[in-house]
Amino acid sequence: MNRSAIDLWVGIFVAMGIAALLFLALKVGNLLTLDHAPGYRLEARFDNIGGLKLRAPVKAAGVLVGRVESVRLDPKTYEAVATLRIDRQYEFTKDTIASINTSGVLGEVYVGLDAGGDPAMLKDGDRIAKTQSAVVLEKLIGQFLFDKAQQPNNGQDPNSAGSAAAVAGKGSGGNMK
């Protein structure tokens, strides 16, 4: 094995290794995606964020528009405060609703934004006024059982079908601030 042959093979080896690392970083991971695009911050408060994690997606109409930057608990109001970092090219109205959803049964938790009709737009640092907390399964079941117990006969309470759904739709009492 002479020197030039060794140098060649080592060069090939190192090049392959670096290519693999780049592959892992870019194609497999998400090194160059949104985290580095210019963005602005919005704050959203929830009663319960469920399984929301850092860097969870923020989607509007199913399109990725940003990431969850930080999550903390407000010690005075005991609410969860999530800071969302939104891509600068997207603007949202002041009456946008932020809700916590799950994609699929085992899917990941993300923040969904539904824009409203307000002509004014949210700026960097604004707080999203209307939020919808995550569905907590235990409360859902509890509400369902409660409703069931409320019925005098089986399935004859005209209101029972509605209230469980109301819980699911509004979270624990809905958060209209």
Binding site: I18, F23, L24, G29, N30, K53, L54, L106, G107
Partner: protein, 270 residues
Amino acid sequence: MSAELAHGLAYWLRRLGGGVTGGISRLGFAARFLLAVLWYSPQAFRRIHLTLREIYFAGVLSLVIVLMSGMFVGMVLSLQGYETLKRYGSDEQLGILVALALVRELGPVIAGLLFASRAGSAITAEIGLMKTTEQLAAMEMMAVNPLARVVAPRFWGGVVSMPLLAALFSAFGIFGGYLVGVRLIGIDEGAFWGQMQAGVDFWPDVTNGIIKSVVFGFAVSLIAVFEGYDSKPTAEGVSTATTRTVVISSLAILALDFVMTAFMFRGGNV
């Protein structure tokens, strides 16, 4: 208790104690050895060709086994993962499953184990044989420090090769997973790569995998050169040293993996 039983017990206790103290003093010796190797390393880099040669023997010659194993592991992950995910209707998550398993754990660990058995044992045997045939002593008598000329290049050759091999293992594994998942089983290609990209983060998944492989590289390389250098200069001595390299490296990799994983992948809102 009879005298014989007490005797036997005392004997085994003495052996246990001796083993523990011997092991600890060996550990200290290995630490000093590491410092010495690091001290003489600049020479290994001035004569960069020595180190390049070792990267060839440790890294390039391990490529075949690493790439093939990576591909097979990825393929199996895909097969097994699909069966389980399908039960929960989440078969589209297959990409994330394969990628995370490989990048976080299997890539560094399995590549490390393969490296220890193939390259680590070869390094130990080589240094041990040089010791047995007095080549190291001859070098010393010629006023050439064997630590600088023989040990340090092999140490750094291993340290450089290991992360590259781990990355290649993971990459080929993901490719194998793709082959089975998309081509064989028929999962949507877009979902496979898209979910994977969304679910695998550069920090912490890929970088922690890289950190692990670097740490494993240091550990295996140190163990390999140390066992070779410290071997008894006989045929049995070299054989024992080679076996020790593989065994101790493997245990070290698994133990370090546990410690690092506990640190890196904690729960919480991360």
